[in-house]
Structure formats: C-alpha cells, structure tokens
C-alpha cells in the first residue's frame, strides 16, 4: 500500500496542444521516477477532473505541487477545486523565461532543450518536496545526520 503520509502529490497539467504541456508532464516523470520516487505521487489530472476517489484522496492528504503549461493553470485550479492544498504552483513559462536557451520544441516528442527544461524545473522543485516530505532516511535516522 502507498503510504501517503510522507508524500507530495505532483500534478502536471495535461496539456496536449503545446510543448509546454509536454514539459510539465516530463518534469512530473523526472520527479516521480528519477529524483524523488519515494516521496512523490504522480496524479493524473484527468482523474482529478472526473472526481476519481483515489486521486481526490491523494490531493486531500498530500500537499500538492501543480505544474502548469499555460496561463490557464488547470492543474492548480483543479487541485484547489478538489479540496487539496497547492504547496507550490509552477508555471513552465516562468521557468523558460529564466532559461531562454532551453526552448522546448515538439509535443509528442520533446527536443533535447525541452527535456533539459523539464529537468531544470524538476530540480528546482525538489527543495520544496524535501521541505514538505523529508526523505525517509533523514527522518528515520534522526540524530545521525547533520
């Protein structure tokens, strides 16, 4: 069973029309599969939209990080409408403005710059995740660190 007590819900926008939506999804995978697999839970926005009980429970019990590809901010809006708490709203466009050299191209398949932009975004978010859900080793080992 998934223990949600130490998890952060990662909710990427489901954008299908622009590369920024794909970047949000890729960043979600970066976080949940590579960078913080033990302390994050990927939530599909469509399930949240449809009121799926498991998805709603996840955002109800876990602080959420919404990653949106456009100004409509669907992911952040839906987490709030579902009764969840958005701990951080991330707009892909804001990250891109700070990293203009990483212009994402491609929707079905991102170019290398788009993949790098997703990774940069994901790495920027890890600090917030660690704050919200400290890695288990740090908690369990108590006084052994730092």
């Amino acid at each position: 069973m998934n223990d949600l007590r130490r998890k952060v819900a990662i909710v990427p926008c489901s954008g299908i029309g622009k590369p920024y939506g794909t970047v949000s999804r890729e960043a979600g995978y970066d976080l949940c599969e590579d960078l913080r697999p033990d302390t994050t839970e990927l939530v599909a926005l469509s399930r949240l939209v449809m009121g799926d009980e498991t998805a709603r429970q996840t955002v109800a019990e876990c602080p959420a990080i919404a990653i949106d590809g456009c100004k409509l901010m669907c992911a952040a809006k839906m987490v709030k409408q579902s009764g969840g708490t958005v701990a951080q709203e991330v707009a892909v466009l804001d990250v891109y403005r700070r990293h203009k050299n990483l212009k994402p191209v491609g929707i079905a398949e991102l170019n290398e710059a788009g993949l790098q932009l997703a990774r940069v975004l994901a790495e920027e978010v890890t600090g917030k995740i660690d704050e919200l859900a400290p890695p288990a080793t740090r908690v369990e080992q108590g006084g052994h660190h730092g």
Binding site: I16, R47, K77, A108
Partner: protein, 150 residues
C-alpha cells in the same frame, strides 16, 4: 462560423500520465492531429472542460467528437459527455490492443514496441472514424465503437 466547424472533428484524449495506455492515447491523438488528418481535426485539453470557460464547454456541441481513453475509467468520454456533449464515438486503447492482438504497452514515458504499435493502430482507427463522421451528422454514434454513456 458554424460551416467552418462542420468540417472538423474534435478529438479529446485522456491525459493518463499514470498509465502507458494514457501515453498511447495521447500520442495516437497527436498522430491524427498532426499527420493523418491535420485539416479535419482539432483538440482540447481535457481539464479545460472544468478549468476553462463556456467556449471550451461548447466544444463538443459544435464539433462531432471522438474520445480516446487509456483505460476503462474512460475519463475523456465521461468528461466530454458531462461538460460538453455526448461524443460521437469513443475508443479505449485496451480494446484496440485486444482486438489487434498486440502486446501490452509498457513505458509511460517511453513506449515499448508494443506501445508504438498500439499508437499506430489507435491512430489509424481514429482517422477512419474521422472520415466516417465527416459524412455523418455531428453527434451520430458510430456503430462498432463504444459510445459514452451506454
């Protein structure tokens, strides 16, 4: 204005980030939109039905719509019916995979060979439905395909 819309079919894909079949549905939808029927199709991000305004919700009232879902939750079909109008046809990737005798799609981030075959099969199926629908009255159910709500 309405005449412009008559020549277009809307395709709404499940986002399905959690499942490989969700990736299949998304990539198949993009294949139809960008390669197979670029002049005959449009799309809308599924969450826009809720997060967007009336213009987004009017989507399926103006366009005959095909929904492409990754699993039996059928979020795209249900959302389209709930917030806009009954889709003209709805497809579930698992059904296409079973019907074609394909392997199980794996790799929600990077699809395996079976997943890529499922994209091809699903996209081809959707493109055929587009052709069929453009000769039909918007909203008419297509025989042989799941129709939302039934």
């Amino acid at each position: 204005m309405a005449d412009v819309f008559k020549s277009k079919v809307g395709i709404v894909s499940c986002s399905g980030e959690e499942l490989s079949e969700g990736t299949v549905s998304r990539l198949a939808t993009l294949r139809v939109l960008h390669e197979l029927r670029p002049h005959e199709t449009v799309t809308l991000c599924l969450p826009l039905f809720l997060a967007g305004g009336e213009s987004e919700r009017a989507f399926a009232r103006v366009h005959p719509t095909i929904t492409v879902d990754g699993c039996d939750l059928r979020c795209a079909a249900r959302a389209t019916a709930m917030y806009s109008a009954e889709p003209a046809a709805s497809i579930v990737v698992n059904d296409v995979v079973a019907k074609r005798g394909l392997g199980k799609p794996e790799g929600r981030r990077r699809l395996n060979e079976a997943g890529r075959q499922a994209v091809d099969a699903t996209a081809t199926h959707v493109a055929a439905l587009v052709d069929e629908l453009l000769d039909r009255t918007p909203g008419t159910a297509t025989s042989g395909n799941r129709v939302s709500g039934k």
